[in-house]
Amino acid sequence: MPDKLVHAESVTKVFRTRAGEVRAVDDVSLTVHRGETLGLVGESGSGKSTMARLMMGLQTPTSGRVEFDGQDLSKLPARELRLLRPRMQMVFQNPYGSLLPHFSAIGNVMEPLRLHERGDKESRRTKALELLDLVGINTGHAELYPRQFSGGQQQRIAIARALALEPDLLVCDEPTSSLDVSIQAQILELFTDLRDRLGLSFLFISHNLAVVERLADRVAVMNKGRVVEEGSTEDLFRAPQDDYTRQLLSAVLPIRQAPGL
């Protein structure tokens, strides 16, 4: 079994717009190893979300290739790609937008199971309830609709939904940035717990460097479509090598007078 779960090799993505060509991702190679959390940080517009979509096979690179579990996504027939799809799931910044508004909380979690024909209705219900419980949603509220939950609770439901198909990889695009700090702290604990219990791998995109420092094993820094620095979380935060990384770290706004106290 390859140690690399997802691997992007020299991928480039060019978009054509009225304003001309945009090179969103420019010759990037990136790997998420099995069981690892890779943090992806960088300026807005630097290509992080595009990179995430490429790594999930949701968009095709203009050049380069992406391998999931050793299989080249661009070479896979549609049927096999469909089988791979459940193994990578995404959690977005805006939980409400990623939930089905006319489905209850439990309905949202059951839907991917139904689409992929997992189990019967009863077992799907049981599984969805377990997942809601796992992410800390009171199962007594399972029949409520997304809008009846707070932002933090919606994100928990979105996470439960993403976990329904038992993915190997969870791609999180700013998953806590619409949440306030106390809920963020709980979601961070939830992610840590999921990683330890389920052995999940994460690609974790966030502009919140403190969150990335806390969760990631390794960090890659993107700037203008390129990865400018990559390293272990500890090294990168302690001794950033690239000018842009240094600039990024110095822009962090401390909460307490002496951070870390």
Partner: protein, 325 residues
């Protein structure tokens, strides 16, 4: 203080109609002042009523909402009483709003140009050519490269962070007296965040009062002068910004500070507040924080909520807080 306040909100109460149940009180007697050229931070957990408070003041509540009590004095008029037609004249010109998500504020089917010039043209502030010039300048000001070109694009063609900046440009273009910013920098990276805050600070220096709803206590510290902490639809602590962060007094404020993660604090244990905010249809009696509060003492905390003055410009809704000598 309320004499010199730009916006003075007193006893605001907003409810939502529900099918087959009592109306839900989302905002329950909220008061605060915003001063000219100063920024007020409003912090608190999801569902604590921050957005509903602002939407009440702006008159942009959903149909099911009703303001049942309170005042919001702005330029000698009560915004809660002047009616929709007058309020529409104030909105976008004297008071601008920046939302949590640019998708809420921007129309996906219109170019940036149409959206940025809309308020200028609708309020008759200037002609079309001038409006375009100001719009391009505003886009450049918020750090959008190539504003002359970008102004012709649609919101979906921008990255999330750029869309957020475009929305801020949209709010700044009329130079409003009051800017209400609901999580304005959550979608952007720290360098752009700093750039946006510095831009907003310039607006502040020119006298604009700002209400900043934020989950980011670092942003609050950097940008805001005063702070209001909300919980379950009520204000639980009011303090000068630095005092709140360096020496929080209300147990909920203490909990918020304990949940904040900081660079360099990787090894520090997280101390999230246990549980979640109350379902407002079952708001706990007395102090609504008592089911989660480590210092709660029953029966008193479960039956009454008392606000103590801590010091100048500082109070907290807890009978157990330490009060300055």
């Amino acid at each position: 203080m309320s004499d010199e306040a730009l916006l003075s909100v007193r006893g605001l109460r907003t409810t939502f109609r529900r099918d087959g149940a009592e109306p839900l009180t989302a905002v329950d007697g909220v008061s605060f002042d915003v001063r000219r050229g100063q920024a007020l931070a409003i912090v608190g957990e999801s569902g604590s009523g921050k957005s509903v408070t602002m939407r009440s003041v702006m008159g942009i509540l959903p149909r099911t909402a009703r303001i049942t009590d309170g005042q919001a004095m702005f330029g000698g008029r009560d915004l809660l009483a002047i009616g929709d037609k007058e309020l529409r004249k104030v909105r976008g010109r004297d008071i601008a709003m920046v939302f949590q998500s640019a998708m809420e504020a921007m129309n996906p089917t219109l170019t940036l140009e149409r959206q940025l010039t809309e308020h200028l043209l609708w309020h008759g502030i200037c002609n079309k050519a001038e409006a375009r010039k100001r719009a391009v300048r505003a886009l450049g000001d918020v750090g959008i490269p190539d504003p002359e070109k970008r102004i012709r694009t649609y919101p979906f063609q921008l990255s999330g962070g750029m869309r957020q900046r475009a929305m801020i440009a949209m709010a700044m273009v009329t130079e409003p007296a009051l800017l209400i910013a609901d999580e304005p920098t959550t979608a952007v990276d720290v360098t752009v965040q700093r750039q946006i805050l510095d831009l907003l600070a310039e607006l502040k220096n020119r006298g604009t009062g700002v209400i900043m709803i934020t989950h980011d206590l670092g942003v609050a510290r950097y940008f805001c002068d005063d702070a209001v902490v909300m919980y379950a639809g009520r204000v639980v602590e009011r303090a000068p910004m630095d005092r709140l962060l360096d020496d929080p007094r209300h147990p909920y404020s203490v909990g918020l500070l304990g949940s904040g993660v900081e660079v360099g604090g990787r090894e520090l244990p997280l101390r999230p507040i246990p549980g979640s905010p109350p379902d407002l249809s079952h708001r706990p009696d007395g102090c609504p924080f008592h089911p989660r509060c480590a210092r709660a003492e029953l029966p008193r905390c479960g039956t009454e909520q008392e606000t103590l003055t801590i010091g100048p410009g500082r109070d907290a809704a807890c009978w157990k807080v330490a009060v300055d000598a």
